[in-house]
């Protein structure tokens, strides 16, 4: 187990460096730079040149990369070109918002997808299974961006949830409980936009696993003994078939990350995805690199947790053969 954790920690470092280096490369090699905004809003040619020199943008790309790498290895993630603030503090705040969104979206996906998959895979509700399969196929076909747009439209027309933002105007003056509820209220649209397509993929995997498990001897025996539906679903069907489903949780990290960008833009959720998009669009190299590093760390940690959860459920999957 310790060898596994050390290996994963090493992989995390490599992933973080690779992702952030890729961001540095993209922002450095793409045409234009962060001084474009200054130029468009009145800075003179001489001022733009001075700003480029101050930010080191007049140096060759390789030299800039070397300087960035040296600082990063000393855990100095630099200062945002655009905001003039430490990248670490800018990224930390937004990463927390994204983690909240992703976490709740995952819970929502599990709460919807797993029971739906169990019911449709149990073989006991054929009509329901057909409907659930149809809905899942539709949700799997819809990208999170489209789901976010549809839900935003519905929310705007019905008023059943806010269409954008993380908190209501004036929420600063409310009590803690009211503010928590307010954030939960603002999570509805983005969580469903991210969570529903993910729930559909969980449902499909769970359905397939449950369909296999429903024909197993222990499951048939439990039915023959008259075990209640809920107990049968949980003990005879889900627990033996949970492992392949939980191992898919690790892959959910990639889905959540890629979907989060579009959802955060449409719903104005102040998360890491939106910050990364802005950093790339404005060629804010240190900030883009910091966002890339955070996203890579999120991916590595999440897949590790997914593997650990799978091993807890099924010791046969452990790398040391169950020891």
């Amino acid at each position: 187990m310790w060898r596994f954790l050390v290996a994963r920690a090493s992989l995390l470092v490599v992933l973080v460096l690779a992702a952030s280096s890729a961001m540095v490369a993209v922002t450095s090699l793409a045409p234009g730079d962060v001084t474009t905004e200054s130029a468009m809003f009145g800075a003179t040619t001489a001022q733009v040149a001075r700003e480029r020199a101050r930010l080191g943008l007049d140096r060759p790309a390789l030299e800039r990369y070397g300087l960035w790498l040296g600082r990063t290895l000393r855990l100095d993630f630099g200062t945002s070109f655009r905001y003039g603030q430490p990248v670490a503090s800018l990224v930390a705040a937004r990463a927390g918002h994204s983690a909240l969104l992703a976490g709740v979206a995952l819970i929502c996906a599990v709460a919807i997808g797993l029971p739906a998959g169990l019911l449709s895979g149990s073989g006991r509700f054929p009509r329901t299974a057909g409907v659930v399969a149809g809905v899942s196929l539709v949700l799997l076909s819809l990208p999170p961006l489209l789901v976010a747009l549809l839900l935003t439209f519905v929310a705007a027309r019905t008023g059943w949830a806010p269409t954008s933002g993380m908190q209501s105007a004036g929420a600063d003056a409310w009590g803690t409980g009211a503010r928590i509820l307010d954030v939960a209220w603002h999570l509805v649209v983005p969580v469903l936009a991210l969570g529903l397509p993910l729930a559909a993929s969980f449902e499909r995997v769970q359905q397939a696993a449950a369909a296999d498990g429903a024909g197993a001897r222990h499951a048939l025996a439990a039915r023959a003994r008259g075990v209640g539906l809920a107990r049968w679903l949980w003990r005879a069907l889900w627990r033996p078939t949970a492992s392949p489903v939980v191992s898919v949780f690790g892959l959910a990290a990639g889905t959540l990350l890629s979907g989060a960008l579009a959802v955060e833009l449409v719903t104005a959720w102040p998360g890491l995805g939106r910050l990364m998009f802005e950093a790339l669009a404005t060629r804010d190299t240190p900030l883009a690199a910091g966002c890339g590093a955070a996203a890579a760390a999120f991916l590595a940690i999440w897949t590790t947790l997914g593997d650990l959860a799978a091993w807890w459920l099924d010791p046969r999957l452990r790398p040391e053969g169950g020891r």
């Binding site: 793409a30 045409p31 234009g32 730079d33 474009t36 200054s38 130029a39 468009m40 809003f41 009145g42 800075a43 003179t44 040619t45 001022q47 001075r50 700003e51 655009r82 905001y83 003039g84 603030q85 503090s89 800018l90 705040a93 937004r94 918002h97 935003t152 439209f153 929310a155 705007a156 027309r157 019905t158 008023g159 059943w160 949830a161 806010p162 269409t163 954008s164 933002g165 993380m166 908190q167 105007a169 004036g170 600063d172 209220w185 008259g226 209640g228 539906l229 809920a230 833009l265 449409v266 719903t267 104005a268 102040p270 998360g271 939106r274 910050l275 802005e278 669009a281 404005t282 060629r283």
Partner: protein, 572 residues
């Protein structure tokens, strides 16, 4: 088995009741409470992007501009409706006989939001900060005349004298871009050379002090800024106070999300104008009394199509027929401007003849050379410069060789992308092949700066109606003289003439003399067509029905430029 199924029914009923309770308790996007006798909800305005800084002198972006207008005050204010300057912190001013020295009387009894008195020292300090080379303020160029700063000295606690390097036509209107900052808060930072890093968005709100109608009370990065009415506000006199207790600036990056939020009742003020596609839906809401729309007339700035007229081109001259003015006139005559308005702006636009739109009433010239829509005439002009259909395939070529123009525009800007496509489609009818390429803004600006393009369809915001404030565009030496920037000497006689006229009118203070010369500039411009203007959108913005007292105008920001008159509509 039967007992477990029977148990499902009451469980399902309980779930339904709980869900209903949840929906009732939540009841829509606002907490469900009895209608208050007084509307105490904050007014919510949209902001497209976060401010880069709370220090306007260090940040040129629009987010920082809007925040600065709310937190700070200026010596004079440019009225966005009348385009004239009005007193603010300066109550009156006089111009000396030399035509370049202004004496400004400052408003007495005004204090910053932290209680410190506003005096002439704050004005002197702010100018010093703008011109400080360590600050390298991006707004300094707007306050330099011919590359020289304005000299400022105090002649009393509430009087300053501004001496311009030369007589300057726009006069004090350039002070509209300068927020007056507190010397007592920022002088140490300036002395240490750290002014540019002062008042970033990480600064606690309590450390900020301003003369504006609002104070910052909270900032949730990426989400919103919370502001409250400044109880000490007095920049426009003791009787002018915002009628709104709290204002929230909500960051909404996408324009369609902004319109949806207005429709849902989550927004009161839009960040910018409505898109043509949204007008019908919003006007329907206005008919139902849910929102108010404000028609601001033709925009001050129109998008322009220009060709690369730089001399340092790798393409041979024969491949650049657009350097001949007849080609550019042909392009203009090949485009049906009314059809352009109907397609790009869905009818909500005004065809224009030149660079100054009818929205800029003081400076728009009539009687300019006309180039009516005439495809046959356009083809004849193309043929005169050697672009003709020599092989009868309906497509224009140059001496039998295929000829196409690459037209660059901004990706993600719907109006510019649509406009480019319409231009390409119209020119195709005249036989001209135009390939539209949409680029991200930084990539587009780089191509413009390097001069590696054939043609561009883009727009530049002027920020002021007075052309002398935008000399960088008109003068051949200017960096915004986009078709051929930063010329060492004028490349053409007509550019030399425009340079002469612009320098002349910038040094005059008589309005009608200035306008007469600028009318001549427009005539020369439209005769030589370095840039082609087709139409200006008719601007419409909107607010929720509960906000009133605003004075919308066609200069950005359309609504919040004067937030101190804003108030909540009284319930009927």
């Amino acid at each position: 088995m039967r007992s477990s199924r029977r148990a499902l029914v009451p469980a399902f009923a309980a779930l339904l009741i709980a869900s209903a309770g949840f929906v009732v308790a939540c009841g829509g996007s606002q907490p469900s409470t009895p209608a208050p006798a007084v509307d105490r909800r904050p007014v919510v305005a949209a902001l497209r992007a976060e401010p880069r800084s709370f220090n306007r002198l260090a940040a040129p972006d629009r987010g920082s501009l809007v925040v600065s207008l709310l937190l700070n005050a200026r010596l004079v204010e440019l009225n966005h409706k009348t385009h004239e300057i009005e007193p603010a912190l300066a109550t009156k001013w006089s111009l000396a006989a030399d035509g370049k020295t202004y004496t400004l009387d400052l408003r007495p009894g005004v204090t910053f939001s932290d209680g410190a008195p506003f005096t002439a020292d704050d004005v002197v300090f702010t100018f010093a900060a703008v011109y400080d080379p360590k600050v390298d303020s991006p707004i300094a160029s707007a306050l330099t005349i011919g590359g020289k700063p304005i000299a400022v000295r105090k002649t009393g606690d509430h009087q300053v004298v501004l001496t311009f390097p030369t007589p300057y036509g726009p006069g004090l209107r350039i002070l509209d871009s300068l927020p007056i900052l507190p010397a007592h808060k920022l002088k140490d930072a300036l002395a240490k050379g750290e002014f540019a890093k002062a008042w970033t968005t990480a600064t606690p709100p309590a450390e900020l002090a301003g003369l504006g109608p609002f104070v910052l009370t909270g900032y949730a990065a990426g989400d919103r800024l919370e502001l409250a009415r400044n109880p000490r506000y007095g920049a426009r006199g003791p009787d002018v106070h915002p009628g709104v207790e709290r204002l929230t600036l909500r960051i909404v990056p996408k324009q369609d999300a902004e319109r949806v939020a207005l429709e849902a009742g989550e927004l009161d003020l839009l960040n910018s104008e409505l898109r043509p596609d949204d007008l019908k839906a919003v006007r329907t809401l206005a008919s139902a009394g849910k929102v108010k729309t404000y028609d601001l007339g033709p925009a001050i700035d129109a998008e322009m199509l220009w060709f690369n007229l730089r001399a340092d081109q790798k393409k041979p001259a024969a491949a650049r027929p657009w350097t001949d003015v007849r080609f550019r006139r042909a392009v203009l005559q090949a485009i049906d401007r009314q059809a352009f308005v109907d397609t790009v702006y869905l009818g909500a636009g005004t065809p224009v003849d030149g660079p100054i739109t009818p929205g800029n009433k003081a400076w728009h010239a009539s009687g300019l050379p006309q180039y009516p829509f005439d495809v046959a005439k356009a083809k004849a002009l193309f043929a005169e410069v050697g672009v003709a259909d020599t092989n009868g395939d309906g497509v224009l070529d140059v001496k039998g060789k295929p000829f196409a123009i690459e037209l660059l525009t901004q990706r993600g800007h719907a109006g510019r992308e649509r406009g480019s496509q319409v231009i390409a489609g119209q020119l195709k009818k005249a036989g001209l092949t135009v390939d539209v390429v949409a680029l991200e803004l930084p990539a587009l600006v780089e191509r413009i700066n390097k001069g590696t393009y054939d043609a561009i369809y883009y727009g530049i915001s002027s920020g002021d109606t007075d052309p002398s404030v935008n000399l960088d565009y008109w003068l051949s030496t200017g960096s915004f003289h986009v078709w051929n920037p930063a010329q060492a000497k004028p490349a053409t006689p007509w550019e030399a003439e425009i340079d002469r006229l612009m320098q002349e009118l910038t040094g005059l203070t008589d309005a009608s003399a200035r306008q007469a010369r600028f009318a001549k500039v427009q005539e020369i411009f439209v005769t030589n067509l370095p840039a082609i203007f087709l139409a200006a959108p008719n601007l419409t913005t909107a607010t929720s029905a509960r906000v009133e007292g605003l004075e919308p105008g066609p200069l950005y920001p359309y609504l919040l430029w004067r937030a101190d008159t804003m108030r909540l509509a009284q319930p009927h």
